[in-house]
Amino acid sequence: MGIRPVAISVDTPGVSKGLCQRRGYTFTFLSDPQAEVIRRYDLLHRGAGVKGHDIARPAEFLVDSSGTVRWINLTEDVRVRARPEQMIDAAKALQ
């Protein structure tokens, strides 16, 4: 489809590497341990992590090749995330 998935969380590169190896993920995982980028995207969920660490609230953004946001999914429930078919439909709309 020509869409690059990129996962971002406060996990360290080592933790993410372990996750990728266990689950067989081959796409890019980025580490934002100080939640700087998460803050820049206004996605900080204060104190929601283990021992009160700040983490990211779940969110998905589709960005086109010009860097413009073309689709967003901001869930209101941590259990409910974007479904693959929603993301594929959004990606198809880009082409």
Binding site: M1, G2, I3, R4, P5, V6, A7, I8, S9, V10, D11, P13, G14, V15, S16, K17, T28, F29, L30, S31, D32, E36, V37, I38, R40, Y41, D42, L43, L44, H45, R46, G49, V50, H53, I55, A56, R57, P58, A59, E60, F61, L62, V63, D64, S65, G67, T68, V69, W71, I72, L74, T75, E76, D77, V78, R79, R83, M87, A91, Q95
Partner: protein, 154 residues
């Protein structure tokens, strides 16, 4: 005559426990059973039926069944488990910040540069311009990048 074990109240309680833990251990893995936990509510329903049958035996046919003490205790515990489950599913998991200032459709995605799992720095502009599959020709960037922010394992 020795009164019989009231297995129905015990089974009801065990099914309640199963209804609770199976969500987190199993059914939460699949969107179709995670987004609305219908399988777990069916299990709680089955537990309720078993508990009602057990309580009817304990109190209605007390001469042949045990469970006058264990029945109400196990039924109460099951109700507490259901309460915790509903709280977790309908209240706690919706305690999310609103993200009012998150980038909107049509806006530029804020630039960033972060380390990947090999501790190599990757910027949004690189992710938007470098080919996804380096071996394939022609060497073009992707049509887009899907940024997936997730809670992580901290």
């Amino acid at each position: 005559m020795k009164r019989r074990l009231n297995w129905s109240v015990w089974a009801g309680f065990l099914v309640s426990v199963l209804a609770f833990v199976s969500y987190f251990l199993f059914f939460a893995q699949f969107p179709v059973t995670r987004d609305f936990p219908w399988v777990n509510f069916l299990l709680f329903g089955a537990a309720a039926v078993l508990l009602v049958v057990g309580l009817q035996r304990a109190f209605g046919r007390a001469s042949s069944y045990r469970g006058k003490v264990s029945g109400p205790i196990l039924a109460t515990l099951s109700a507490v488990i259901l309460g915790f489950f509903c709280f977790g599913v309908f209240v706690e998991s919706r305690q999310l910040p609103t993200a009012d200032h998150a980038p909107r459709v049509g806006q530029k995605a804020p630039p960033f540069s972060l380390l990947d799992t090999n501790r190599r720095s990757e910027s949004l502009s690189e992710l938007l311009s470098s080919p996804i599959d380096a071996s394939s020709a022609p060497q073009r960037g992707p049509k887009g990048v899907l940024l997936i922010f997730y809670r992580g394992s901290w």
